[in-house]
Amino acid sequence: MQRAFPWHLIFFLAPAVIIYTVFSAYPLLDTLRLSFFTDSESGERSFAGLSNFVTLLGNAVWSEAFWNAMWNNTQFFLIHLLVQNPIGLGLAALLSLKGLRGARTYRTLIFLPTLLSVVIIGFIWQLILSPLWGVSENFLYALGLGQYFDAWLGKESSALITLSLISVWQFIGIPMMLIYASLLSIPDELLEAAKVDGASPFRIFWRIKVPLILPTLGLVTILTFVGNFNTFELVYAVKGALAGPDYSTDIMGTFFYRTFFGYQSQLGSATMGATVATMMFLVILTGVMAYFYLVQRRLTRYQL
């Protein structure tokens, strides 16, 4: 029997699929395509094969800037990983303790900075760390650590680390909440059984809880990775598009922005911008694939 044409299916799906395709999926593919083209000075676009990539990775000026941004971005991510996961795990472990009063209030308040705009957070920390205002300097003096104060955001050696820590401070709420949720989902019987067997709370935590929440740690890591490799706002707000001092805070997002729109004497280029975006896409894709193939497959064994 010939069935009626499923008009209702079109009705339900078309708006979402069309908007998503036109303004998200197609632009991504088109950007990948544009990375193989080049614009002449008169604005004519022609196929250029891999020459943009050869320029980006082979030309000394370009490749130095590219690898600098890539390496800075990697450091940015590694600092997130090393600082945010342990703190997030620690906070989640404390919050999930049985009989803790006020857990709801704590998690609500600790999550707050995560919701604020990165731009605002960047400016707020810039003020607080400013030697002009002296809030953090006086605070360190009060702790007897005054001699360690420095204009951290202004120094080449410390600006990137400081920005990474500001970002960790802001987004700690996400790992905390996801880990907290997964700690709560561990069945009570399992923990009771371990207790009856005489395991100490410390041992229960490391031997039972942590292995069970490994998939969540994996998820947090990949979310952080994707977020870190396309972020832009924090560096742009605090250090501007030039990501100073001397490009020491330049990450892929700011490098992409400068390539696309130009800066100082260098003209912006849509096709070189697309080439940088394509490299960012490849980095993110590699990370996501690694997550799905390696981490996810290994970790599901632990899942209940």
Binding site: P6, H8, L9, F11, F12, L13, P15, A16, V17, I19, V22, F23, S24, A25, P27, L28, T31, L34, L91, L95, L100, G102, R104, T108, F111, L112, P113, L115, L116, S117, V118, V119, I120, I121, F123, I124, W125, L127, I128, W133, G134, V135, L178, A181, S185, L219, V226, N230, F232, E233, Y236, F256, F260, F261, A270, G273, A277, F281, I284, V288
Partner: protein, 281 residues
């Protein structure tokens, strides 16, 4: 339980509270510091940053300057416009698509779901070069519509993904009963399914709204004109211009934080129960 054990237990809980309280202070201190100093005179900001404003130091001069020197109210309006409209579209179109994907079996269903889910992991920003060219050719640069379309596309993948799970949990008997009454598929969705998944829609709303409200990238690239500037971009440029005027800077920052703070007071429980119920696992 022996008294000493109880004592130990209490001491341990005390330490836990101390740690959590300490971290809560770290999380809130910067925000509180900026807000209290935004109400103080310049000398009080510098001489005594940690004290609350008192009769001697209280002033609204920063706020007055921000309201006078920048179109901050217009920027608020712009932000509201390019957040609320995409939010509505994401929730409506997202729920419709989620219903179709979870309810009907058709060829390419899984493939379509995968195609839409890709947008969760691949950031929409990577397509910026092409998005800008599209907007230029459609003559949409410096319009609200450009941001509305991009934000709708940005919010849909996660919304569809989460809502598909929820809509899949609606019991079959309910749908069959409604169909026996001869209801059309479209009325079934709008009159029965949509009201049922309202709590999930509310959770998705919060997740969708925050990145749109806080975004700087697309306003900077697609709509930097004065008439369409959002609050993030407006505040960023205002601070760049008045960097040495601490009263104005602090007031501008406080104003930018305020709407989210107010919303959070009302919706924090919704948001957090959404996060912890594993809705985004």
């Amino acid at each position: 339980m022996t008294p000493s054990f109880q004592y130990q237990q209490k001491a341990r809980m005390g330490l836990v509270h101390l740690a959590l309280l300490g971290y809560t202070l770290i999380a809130l201190f910067p925000i509180v510091l900026v807000i209290i100093n935004s109400f103080k005179s310049r000398s009080a900001i510098f001489n005594d940053p940690l004290s609350l404003p008192d009769t001697g130091s209280f002033t609204l001069v920063g706020y007055a300057k921000v309201l006078q020197e920048s179109d901050i109210l217009l920027y608020f309006g712009n932000s509201l416009l390019v957040t609320v409209i995409p939010l509505f579209l994401v929730l409506l179109f997202g729920a419709m698509a989620a219903w179709a994907l979870s309810e009907y079996r058709f060829r390419g269903n899984r493939l379509l779901a995968l195609f839409l889910a890709m947008g969760i992991m691949v950031p929409i920003r990577l397509g910026t070069v092409s998005i800008l060219e599209t907007m230029v050719s459609l003559n949409l640069v410096n319009t609200h519509l450009a941001l509305i379309l991009v934000y709708t596309a940005m919010g849909l993948p996660l919304a569809i993904f989460i809502l598909t799970e929820f809509i899949g949990q609606v019991p079959n008997e309910l749908k069959e009963a409604a169909r026996c009454d001869g209801i059309t598929e479209i009325r079934l969705f709008f009159q029965i399914i949509l009201p049922l998944v309202r709590p999930a829609v509310a959770t998705v709303a919060v997740f969708t709204m925050v990145p749109m409200w806080n975004d700087l990238w697309f306003p900077l690239i697609l709509a930097p004109g004065d008439a369409t500037k959002t609050i993030q971009l407006g505040v960023q440029q205002f601070i760049g211009q008045y960097a040495t005027d601490w009263n104005s800077v602090l007031a501008a920052l406080s104003l930018a934080v305020l709407p989210i703070l107010v919303l959070y007071v009302f919706f924090s429980q919704q948001l957090i129960s959404g996060l912890t119920s594993g809705a985004v696992k």
